[in-house]
């Protein structure tokens, strides 16, 4: 491995990886710091984890975030798969340009704009037809579905592009109708991409601050919102503990996903 990389390249890579992981590692290390002064090491302690455990606000927010993330990821999966399929398989239809733009714009649109526009929509809707009633878990979920759909669509599109269509043709040839072909042949074989898409939408929802801030209400404070208001006041060791737990959860999730997506599933 080393001999194809010049010393310069190798150094740059090491620097880059250190750059990427130094903050994360420092977070983890100092979550075990007995001292409140996050940057002075005062001995190993699980004190902050204990405090975190007792922190009701964070726990409630975590529950809400999880609830939203699961619903939003599932909704995004359905919409994103349909959108990705349409974009990949239907080269021409009326409104395709618009549809394509709508399905991919959320990927690059600044979140403040998306968040503001959705909130204004909800307010206008509430004025006009009385729904949705105020901002709540529902409105945040709707917002996250809209954002997640774009990401899932990209993943699904990429997977379908590499899909062997002769398998679908063979199924048609043998008498299966197109819907059946999709359910029995296509879907099972693109399943890993669907799982990846779901996880992606899930992470995005769980992590989102800006859109949630715009579209949530008093009863639907999400975890990032709690974290944000907490860190605005300065460094907080409980947050370090939370961060470490978060990292652990993500690491487990990624390992699980990697195990699920192992290559032996398809030829």
């Amino acid at each position: 491995m080393i001999n194809r990389l010049s010393p310069f390249l190798l150094t740059m890579m090491v620097v880059a990886y250190v750059f990427l992981y130094a903050p994360i590692i420092s977070l983890v290390v100092y979550s075990f710091n007995a001292s409140r002064l996050v940057t002075v090491w005062a001995g190993f302690s699980l004190h902050w984890y204990a405090e975190l455990w007792r922190n009701e606000a964070i726990q409630r927010a975590a529950g809400i975030s999880l609830e939203i993330a699961i619903s939003a990821a599932t909704g995004a999966l359905v919409l994103g798969t349909l959108a990705g399929y349409a974009l990949q398989r239907y080269p021409r239809f009326r409104g395709r340009a618009l549809f394509g733009a709508l399905a991919t714009a959320p990927l690059v649109m600044p979140e403040v704009i998306t968040g503001l526009s959705l909130l204004l929509l909800f307010v206008a809707l509430e004025q006009a037809i009385g729904w949705p009633e105020g901002r709540s878990v529902l409105t945040v979920t709707i917002a996250h579905i809209t954002l997640g759909t774009a990401y899932v669509a990209v993943v699904v599109q990429a997977r379908l592009a590499a899909f062997d269509r002769s398998l679908e043709e063979a199924a048609l040839d043998l008498g299966a109708r197109p819907v059946k072909v999709f359910l029995v042949i296509t879907l099972p074989l693109i399943a890993p991409a669907l799982v990846a898409g779901w996880l992606l939408a899930f992470t995005l929802s769980l992590d989102d601050l800006v859109i949630a801030s715009f579209t949530s209400g008093p009863s639907s404070t999400t975890l990032p919102m709690v974290i944000f208001s907490s860190v605005r006041l300065g460094v907080s060791p409980q947050i370090n503990a939370l961060a470490t737990l978060f990292l652990l959860a993500v690491a487990l999730l990624v390992t699980a996903a990697g195990w699920l997506l192992r290559p032996s599933q398809e030829s």
Binding site: S6, M12, P23, Y90, L102, M109, P110, V112, L120, R232
Partner: protein
């Protein structure tokens, strides 16, 4: 079910959803940007009303006038563009060697190396930005280390300034730069570089004359994927920036949450959109060409 019916069935759900929850909101933002701030719920004047003499349309360009008149907004826009652009360049400088190195690495390491680049992305964005506070502040890790090593006498101001914002943006958006670059560099035929060497090029020349030009699409894609969202960044300038690093995303937030001035916030959003529409269309074209 015929082809056309089937097609419609697939499209109806996502298309309707996106029309309602993505496109329609922008029109509402436009409408509100043309209203005036008011007391009440909602805190803006209605677009039209009916009374004895018929329909009245209320349009106010007050929000936009405000934007133009107060140089704060203009500067915030320019600063946002500047920060985004400079960060994009730095991101490229850090990301290109990384992507190039991963491509050059032995095949069995590539997956792991890429995963290591993406992994931080899967952990909370907010938390990672927060982590930099601990590293960059006056008595933070970096300063303490430098002091302890005797390299400096006094703590450096690394936080709440432009430097911190640059670091934050480069850090958060690095995967968006590395992935398209990697995808493009991976397609490069190593035989091309061998041919260049065979014809007398030294490694640096071969890089400049062969690799770099051929990786331009990847560079463009990565740059746009970093630049466009960075312009509207809020969290990074808020947590890591200071009074002299006002970015337009933060302005929008403050107008909305602090000043409760919805029309002005909407006007800011519309102005941002107008500025970003061109690069966004550009990147859509690029992504389409990639897929084709």
């Amino acid at each position: 079910m015929s082809d056309a019916v089937r097609r419609r069935a697939v499209l109806v759900l996502p298309f309707t959803w996106l029309l309602l929850f993505f496109l329609a909101p922008f029109f509402i933002v436009l409408k509100i940007s043309l209203a005036e701030s008011a007391i009440g719920i909602p805190p803006y004047t209605p677009l039209f009303s009916t009374d004895a003499s018929g329909w009245h349309l209320y349009l106010s360009l007050g929000g936009y006038e405000f934007l133009i008149s107060d140089s704060l907004y203009f500067r915030a826009y320019l600063d946002a563009l500047k920060f985004a652009a400079v960060s994009t360049v730095f991101c490229l400088l850090v990301g290109y060697p990384l992507a190039y190195g991963i491509v050059r690495a032995a095949r069995r390491w590539r997956g792991a190396l890429l995963l290591l680049v993406i992994l931080p992305f899967w952990t909370s964005f907010l938390i990672r930005v927060y982590a930099w506070i601990g590293l960059l502040k006056g008595n933070g890790l970096i300063n303490n280390t430098l002091l302890a090593l005797g390299l400096i006498d006094q703590p450096l101001t690394l936080l709440n300034n432009a430097f911190a914002v640059y670091v934050g943006i480069v850090y958060s958006y690095l995967p968006f730069m590395v992935l398209p670059l990697y995808a493009q560099l991976e397609k490069l035929d190593p035989a091309l570089l061998e041919a260049a060497a065979d014809l007398g090029c030294r490694p640096w020349q071969a890089f400049a004359r062969v690799t770099l030009p051929l990786s331009l699409p990847g560079i463009a894609a990565g740059a746009l994927l970093v630049f466009i969202p960075a312009v509207g960044e809020f969290v990074i300038p808020d947590l890591l920036g200071g009074p002299d690093t006002l970015m337009i995303g933060k302005v929008l937030w403050d107008e909305f949450f602090a000043n409760r001035d919805w029309p002005v916030a909407s006007a800011v959003a519309i102005a941002m959109l107008v500025v970003l529409i061109v690069p966004m269309a550009f990147i859509r074209r690029l992504l389409q060409e990639e897929a084709a």
